[in-house]
Amino acid sequence: MKTTTIKELAQMVAKKVGLDYVPNTIQEFGDFIRDIYPQFNLNYESLDDLLYYTQNANVSDINITMPTDVLKLHFDEVNKAIGISESSCVDYFDNYNGEVYEEYDNVKSENVGINIVEDNGYSVKQILENCHELCKKYNCAIKIEVGSSAYKNGYCEFNLIWNVDTDGIYGQDLYFSIIDDNGADLMGGLYWLVEMFREDTVEDFETFGIKLSYEEK
């Protein structure tokens, strides 16, 4: 398994379909993935559904765990920081009874898990930085999991968890592994990668320190 970069991955997959192409942004890479899907005899829509049904996960989800009172007392600020109202699908997880609520008012536990399921136009970098500001202001800690419900048994393996506190932003064993099988494993992995970081720039992605690795099956 060798370490690679977003651009190398894009070049590698472009070569497979006979193209010499390097995308400038992660969004362009995402568009490219969509365009070349059928060349791998895969159906984009069905693969998305397949991931959803088999992993019970949505590729663009992000889970943010923070003190419930920070959310309740400063909702407008938290909303602005992580884009709750910008997403068409958000729910709140209550650690106390394991329930998921549509309204945060119902949460009883000390910490609440805010699950942003649909893309809200915020980059991962933006959310991390905004959460850091919240931690400094309210002297708290926040945990951020990208692709929170979808790790370790999908088409690819990854761990994308950050712990943020008043002092800084700390990645927790960040890695993303892609297995190249010339088919669903490869395209599924790339699909998740570009979906989860679609709002980030390539340069910002590189600063995260995620160990991006690639291996031929």
Partner: protein, 325 residues
């Protein structure tokens, strides 16, 4: 490891888009390519887009679409079963993908000025085939730049279902024409702040005259509102409009969608019509008066929900055939 990829339409689009390769070198060569891979119409340079080219595209693409439609028909039931088990798998995925790589399936193309040609419009409409839908044109975009009212008058006469495309165009565009809005409001005495969808309806009534086309517009109006047969407010507007039609149009609308019978007063439903409805409509027991329900021993639905389900499942009138519900 590079894959062994056969040439196909999608592949050529990739080379054009990402490899910056010229796919089209001359008009004749482009026509041959379109014949082989109709999907390439998406990237065809405008200088080559003319009537002959579109007709070539339609002929080639229609064969693929027919194949795709028949695959979808046969797979629908199976797919529903799979979806219920949370398993999504497109049966005959390889054939689906093969078609999608070469044909234009449910994607809109800008045909530019060629949309002002009667033959082109009729051919594009015909290409939609068996799975034609009252609301959506899957293959062309109608805009103020390529709209020609005189041509649309003619095409709707030949293919009444195309009136729904005309209606959709006016729904999108009537809001930009204040003068026209005022004219329609005065002409049809619409003084209760009518929505664009209602104004578009009357605008289309000004353009098309024959009953079948009017019926299509009226049905598109019902569905376009997203309300169809379920919303009380829309029901009132629909009823008001229905009442304004002459007797012939009313009958036509009823015969194409028996559910419209609910807008008729019971005394206007004669025995002949009652027999027709009894024989052709699964919710006849809900639509006809008690006199006929008893006479023909018809069943009433338990509730509104059951009635709507029965209406949806029935495939006997135009409403159902258009896959409206």
């Amino acid at each position: 490891m590079k894959m062994n990829i056969q040439e196909n339409g999608q592949n050529l689009i990739l080379e054009y888009k990402y490899g910056k390769k010229d796919v089209f070198s001359s008009y004749e060569q482009s026509k041959e390519l379109i014949k082989k891979y109709p999907i390439l119409i998406k990237i065809l340079p405008h200088k080559y887009m003319d009537k002959e080219m579109i007709m070539t595209f339609v002929k080639a693409n229609k064969e693929w679409i027919d194949q795709y439609n028949s695959l979808e028909e046969s797979s629908e039931k199976r797919l529903t079963e799979l979806a219920e088990k949370n398993i999504i798998a497109l049966e005959r995925k390889d054939i689906y993908n093969h078609i999608k790589m070469n044909a234009l399936i449910r994607e809109r193309v800008d045909f530019g000025e060629c949309m002002k040609d009667e033959d082109v419009l009729l051919a594009l409409d015909d290409m939609e085939g068996e799975r034609w839908n009252i609301l959506y044109s899957d293959y062309y975009e109608l805009t103020p730049n390529n709209y020609d009212e005189k041509i649309w008058e003619k095409v709707v006469k030949k293919s009444p279902r195309m009136a729904t495309r005309l209606y959709s165009f006016w729904c999108d565009n009537i809001g930009n024409d204040k003068k026209l809005i005022e004219h329609i409001k005065v002409k049809y005495k619409l003084f209760n702040n009518p929505k664009n969808s209602e104004l578009a309806l009357y605008k289309c009534f000004d353009i098309v005259k024959q009953e079948e086309a009017i019926a299509y517009i009226y049905l598109a109006f019902s569905v376009n509102e997203g309300l169809g047969i379920v919303d009380a407010d829309h029901e009132n507007i629909s009823k008001e409009i229905f009442k304004k039609f002459d007797d012939n149009t009313k009958k036509f609308l009823i015969h194409n969608f028996y559910y419209n019978l609910r807008f008729m007063s019971k005394e206007d439903i004669d025995a002949e019509l009652a027999v027709t409805v009894k024989e052709n409509c699964d919710i006849a027991g809900d639509l006809l008066s008690d006199e006929y329900v008893l006479k023909y021993d018809l069943e009433k639905s338990i509730n509104e929900e059951e009635m709507q389900k029965k209406c949806r499942d029935c495939q006997k009138c135009l409403f159902a055939k258009c896959k409206l519900v």
